[in-house]
């Protein structure tokens, strides 16, 4: 036999009334087939069957109130459970007639109280005991965590709803407890906050009964004194009574509301309407509230170092305006200038000027205020900002750094031409870095030719002109092409075609300064080589300690497109080419 107990129909309501049975004893029902309409304090709800099987008994009839957790329907033994582990012993089968009065275990009227696992959220049917935080015999306070329960969603601490002594913990770690099944039994003497014992002393009756509401109203017993004075003052203000002229008749001569009302009636102690304003119009010049000014004006005065006391108040209702502060600031600087020139005049009137900077009388320098407006970023600088942001948003950059020994270079070697040649050579050895990559469509294009973009620094911003087919050029040709491009930039004659289709980029920041860097790959390209400033370094070689010329290299590659091995092989190829004498 299986027993189906009335589950919580929502919002933690304690019971529900049977409106209408939808099945009869002896009926065969399917899982989720509605069996009965129940009415809670909130709504009428259809209760579906958790099992497929034959109904042997319906507990209660229309109009009966069934406690949550009490037996509602019994099924025959052959019914195949589809839903839950909830066996009959989860709730005591002591509910012979399942009406209100006969559900002893479900409410707190007796000496002990059973706390049932509440819905821990989102309507999940059960939860697993993770760890008990209390043991049987412990005393707990309201809201003290008793147990950690794990639902399908989260681990939740279940707090105690009452203060009292725990007489029994139902289940142990690892047990799955159904919502609505007993979790903790409290021994006698527990004082519930939500549903207090119906009567203790008659005098306390009203305060111990917190009502019939779902929820928990915090209860305190602290007695606090009302600030009667604030009420009397408020009334006096309302009735326009000056309290200083009212004689108090309360305890210790305190003024009562009745005194204020009497004074208002007799009209003896009428407060002048100015008294309210008197509070404001202070004379303490150290108090910023002695002056009326908006926060913006106060901020301006702070910025210009102007004392509000030195300002005229030409604004509405005697307030200090922005121009009052500005006038005070100007007046002060002209005043100090006048002082300066008048001091200078007696000694040498011909050379005196009104400029305070020429004064010699120990005057302080006047303050200078300069306004700088932000300027719109346009053109090449704007393109750089957008390009860099795009790169930052898409590329997965990795930078390799290395030094290459270029001591073998003859005097007068054109370093830029060597860099271009090295890039072309390395691109042949390791084509993966001379490529374009499209991360959105997951496509890669390995270029047969090498178009080297050269980062060029100008006052307008960053240009990257492109030496197309650099791999087909001699060093002289590529060097000449770079010069052509530079001249075009200088003459504002650079064409979009000159800036397009780079397959790899070179940034020779070392011509200015910088040893290593993290150059930014410009998509769809996948690599950029940064060449740093070369330096002399003493190295221990088989010829003894020798001065060597070292060129720092920084290679950034897009790790979406290239492997670290490819990049390292590429860098090695560059070093191989650069270390050659010619």
């Amino acid at each position: 036999m299986k027993t189906f107990n009335l589950p919580d129909l929502g919002e933690g309501l304690p019971d529900a009334e049977i409106v209408r049975w939808l099945v009869k004893e002896g009926d065969t029902v399917a899982v989720d087939q509605p069996m009965v309409e129940m009415e809670t304090a909130k709504a009428v709800v259809e209760v579906p069957s958790p099992y497929a099987g034959t109904i042997t008994k319906l507990n209660g009839q229309a109009g009966d109130v069934i406690q949550v957790g009490a037996s509602l329907v019994e099924f025959d033994g052959d019914s195949s459970s589809s839903a839950s582990q909830q066996e009959a012993q989860a709730t005591p089968p002591a509910t012979e007639n399942a009406t209100t009065s006969a559900a002893p275990a479900s409410t707190s009227q007796g000496a002990s109280e059973v706390f049932k696992l509440p819905d821990l959220g989102e309507g999940l049917p059960d939860a697993e005991v993770v760890r008990w935080l209390v043991s049987e015999g412990d005393s707990v306070t309201v809201d003290q965590p008793m147990v950690e329960m794990e639902t399908a969603k989260a681990v939740v601490e279940v707090p105690s709803p009452v203060a009292g002594t725990i007489s029994k913990l139902h289940g142990q770690a690892g047990d799955v407890i159904q919502v609505g099944a007993p979790l903790v039994t409290f021994g006698g003497g527990s004082a519930s906050t939500t549903q207090a014992a119906p009567s203790e002393a008659p005098a306390e009756e009203a305060s111990s009964d917190a009502g019939t509401v779902v929820g928990a109203v915090e209860v305190g017993n602290t007695i606090v004194a009302e600030s009667a004075n604030s009420v009397v003052k408020a009334l006096a203000r309302k009735l326009k009574v000056d309290l200083t002229q009212v004689k108090g008749t309360g305890t210790d001569g305190a003024i009562t509301q009745a005194d204020v009302k009497a004074a208002a009636k007799s009209g003896n102690a009428v407060a002048s309407s100015a008294s309210a304003a008197a509070v404001v119009a202070g004379t303490d010049t150290a108090n910023p509230l002695s002056y009326k000014a908006s926060p913006a004006v106060r901020a301006l005065a702070r910025r210009l170092g102007v004392d509000l006391g030195q300002c005229q108040a030409s604004g509405r209702k005697g307030s200090i305006t922005r121009s009052d502060v500005e006038n005070a600031a100007q007046g002060r600087s002209t005043a100090s200038a006048n002082v300066a020139s008048s001091q200078a005049r007696p000694s040498n009137s011909s050379s005196s000027t009104s400029s305070p900077s020429t004064s010699s009388g120990g005057n302080r320098l006047p303050s200078v205020s300069i306004t700088r407006e932000p300027q719109t970023v346009r053109g090449v600088r704007r393109a750089m900002a957008q390009g860099m942001a795009h790169s930052h948003a898409t590329v997965v950059p990795t930078t390799l750094v290395e030094d290459v020994n270029i001591s073998a270079w003859p005097k007068g070697t054109d370093s830029l031409a060597r860099y271009i040649r090295a890039l072309c050579y390395a691109s042949r050895i390791e084509p993966a870095l001379n490529a374009w990559f499209d991360g959105e469509n997951m496509e890669r294009l390995l270029h047969p030719n090498v178009n080297v973009g050269i980062a060029v620094d100008t006052a307008d911003g960053l240009y990257v002109p492109v030496v197309h087919n650099a791999d087909q050029m001699s060093m002289t040709e590529s060097r000449a092409q770079v010069q052509v491009l530079r001249d075009k930039i200088a003459n504002k004659g650079i064409k979009p075609a000159d800036l397009a289709d780079a397959t790899i980029t070179l940034s020779n920041f070392g011509s200015i300064a910088g040893r290593y860097g993290t150059p930014v790959v410009s998509p769809p390209q996948v690599a950029i080589l940064g060449t740093g400033r070369f330096r002399n370094e003493l190295q221990l070689t088989d010829k003894g300690i020798v001065n060597q010329k070292m060129l720092p290299l920084s290679l950034t590659f897009d790790h979406r497109a290239c492997t670290g091995g490819e990049a390292a092989r590429f860098l090695a190829a560059i070093m191989e080419d650069l270390s050659k004498a010619q």
Partner: protein, 326 residues
């Protein structure tokens, strides 16, 4: 003098006025036999009978409509809306009739009624039980909106609300229904409506709050006093019509203001108070007006309720920010 809670003070005031004025009646869902779900009307039906303490069906529109009708005929109803979240079916009656009757009849008919509703969050209640929608009613001309913050004020302001010749929406902060007790003498002395109460005098900053949040505000003021920041604390009490004069006077004295409310921020009562201060008191401001409020979102269910409710720490942070502003 008995020490009583806020909810008991509401009960005491109703019982007092029903005792001295036979035209006062109470009605609402579960107010009779049950004594009100929070026990606001506990014992009243036993004392004054079923004719004066009336259990109504679950029909808020009818409760408000019947109250309008009763009040128009000289009865003084105290109607309970069980939770403020259930007031909305009654809004047509409240806004279109209750608030306008005096105006509509050119002063010939006034409605001496009180519409009580527990409101606000923090009691782990289900949906619709935790909102703070006082601004909706404060926005309607013709309604007074009163929110007591402690037992004495609940008693004094409830008496004043019943005695007022016009409709009063009396919103009870249910989270603090039982949080502290006051010794309240059942002497029938009412408190003035339309007044803010300056509960704590200070010089550095004015904290403005009402209802349950006044508890957090006062706790914050205590902590700030230990840091040397002197707070003036104002209980707005009557949120409509607003006693802005008292607030402006205080801000003129302190130069700074922080408003603390449980309701969401946008379009709230705090917005109105901030606007009034900016409009009429801006020259006295040393810092921008600060606001601590609930968030502009649906009030979450109880598991996230604590995350929603303004805390003492949030008030401290806002006050420090405002005081340190330069």
């Amino acid at each position: 003098m008995p020490a009583i809670t806020l909810i008991e003070a509401v009960n005491m005031a109703m019982a007092h006025e029903m005792g001295v004025d036979n035209s006062v009646v109470a009605l609402g869902e579960d107010v009779g036999t049950n004594g009100g779900v929070f026990r606001a009307t506990d014992g009243l039906q036993k004392k004054f009978g079923k004719d004066r303490v009336i259990d109504t069906p679950l029909a808020e529109s009818m409760i408000a409509g019947v109250s309008v009708g009763m009040a128009a005929q000289g009865i003084k109803p105290i109607a309970e809306i069980q939770f403020m979240g259930f007031i909305f079916p009654a809004v047509d009656q409240i806004i279109c009739h209750m608030a306008r009757m005096r105006h509509r009849t050119r002063g010939r008919i006034t409605l001496p009624l009180v519409l009580r509703a527990p409101f606000g969050g923090g009691i782990h209640a289900p949906e619709h039980h935790s909102e703070s929608t006082e601004a909706i009613f404060a926005h309607i001309p013709g309604l007074k909106v009163v929110i007591p913050s402690n037992p004495s004020r609940a008693y004094g302001l409830m008496l004043a609300a019943i005695r007022d010749p016009d409709p009063v929406i009396f919103l009870e902060p249910k989270r603090v229904y039982r949080i502290v007790k006051h010794e309240v003498e059942d002497n029938g002395e009412d408190y003035p409506l339309g007044c803010c109460f300056v509960d704590r005098e200070g010089t550095d900053i004015t904290l403005i709050s009402w209802g349950a949040m006044l508890h957090e505000t006062n706790m914050a003021a205590d902590k700030l006093a230990a840091e040397g920041i002197s707070c003036e604390v104002i209980d707005v009490a009557t949120v409509s019509p607003l006693d802005i004069e008292t607030i402006l006077e205080s801000v003129a004295k302190t130069g700074r203001a922080v408003i603390v409310q449980e309701a969401p921020k946008a379009g709230s009562l705090g917005s109105e108070i901030a606007a009034e201060i900016a409009e009429k008191g801006i020259f006295n401001l040393l810092a921008p007006i600060g606001r601590v409020s609930g968030y502009d979102t649906i009030m979450p269910y109880y598991r996230l309720e604590k995350q929603y409710m303004p805390t003492v720490d949030r008030i401290l942070e806002e006050v420090r920010k405002t005081v340190e502003y330069s």
